[in-house]
Symmetry: C2
Subunit: 199 residues, 2 copies
């Protein structure tokens, strides 16, 4: 079976998205500060940033593809430019069918309307023996955690307090986690966890 | 000014105490699992365990001294045996006055009824140039964080999900934190944070 990973940036008080999500603040207010480690310390965190897009196939939620909810509009590319960083098949969970979207550099977005297990099955077929990465957002990662499908969770903890917003672990249970490695810079603590399921 | 530290064990979902605190479970249900790293991996975590009781003076909350609320009873020693691990003055925050309690090995418990600033002043006098450690529990550490009095917060994160209980950072704000170091074993991730205050 393919090794399944997920990466997520989280505040020290446990939030993965801020309050009042909107088109202007798609991840909620205050979340720019969550991601300072990627933008202001790209070199110092190069290994962790690269690891986020190292997989044979990816699965992501609808909001990770782009901010507009509802029916697809034409050849809309969501957040992405011509050459997304994945360079592999990306399975987007959605309620609305759409033909695959072929981008430059080897990235193709496939739109999956029949749930996480189906997305995983398609990703396994595409990935061969390579790993599969659950690309977010938090609700998608939570669904895969609760389905018992994630082997390794990499948490990038920003040393900030958001105070309110969406918590990663709300409604998640029955996980047994084991730290595999930990490393910090002045803007982030990286911890990789092996996930097993108590069932 | 003395360098002020605090150590706290916290679950991966942010809880420092479990739900339904009682005499049988003074830190709430499920919290035995929080502290496995200290008991089952004492050698592997020897440096971090030793650091918890390395200071020139200590301050702790009433429930950290012992589980019974209300008036003091005779020469009651709370949780502690004849030779507590502090080997230094310990200032216990309480609403009930009591004479100092001299233990073996250099530990003396002083009972402070006039608040955190007073406890800090007495601890500074006693500690000389040595550091001061805020010994817990979480509510006490929160009071000192909110009073702007803590320089370094060491969080020992156990890779478990408690799901409910008391959160360290509820009601704490205006903190700027910077990771100083990170290390993990299979039962814990240790991260030391420098705390500064945005005011």
């Amino acid at each position: 079976m393919n090794y399944v990973t997920a990466d997520l940036t989280i505040s020290l008080d446990g939030f993965v998205a801020g309050p009042r999500q909107s088109l202007e603040h798609p991840m909620g207010e205050g979340t720019e500060r969550l991601h300072r480690w990627q933008f202001e310390q790209a070199e110092e965190n190069a290994a962790e940033i690269a690891a986020i897009v190292e997989a044979g196939a990816f699965i992501m939620g609808r909001n990770m593809f782009g901010p507009i909810r509802g029916e697809w509009e034409g050849d809309w590319q969501g957040w992405w430019d011509e050459n997304p960083p994945y360079h592999a098949p990306v399975y987007v969970l959605t309620h609305y069918p759409r033909e695959p979207l072929v981008m430059q550099g080897g990235t193709t977005f496939y739109f999956v309307t029949d749930g996480v297990e189906s997305a995983m099955e398609q990703a396994r077929t595409a990935a061969g023996s390579a790993s599969i990465s659950i690309g977010g957002g938090a609700d998608t990662i939570r669904q895969f955690l609760n389905a018992g499908l994630i082997d390794e969770l990499s948490l990038h903890t920003s040393p900030i307090l958001l105070g309110e917003g969406e918590r990663l672990f709300d409604g998640v249970s029955a996980l047994a986690l084991e730290p595999l490695s930990a490393r910090s810079t002045s803007l982030v603590t990286h911890v990789r966890y092996r996930v097993t399921y108590a069932r």
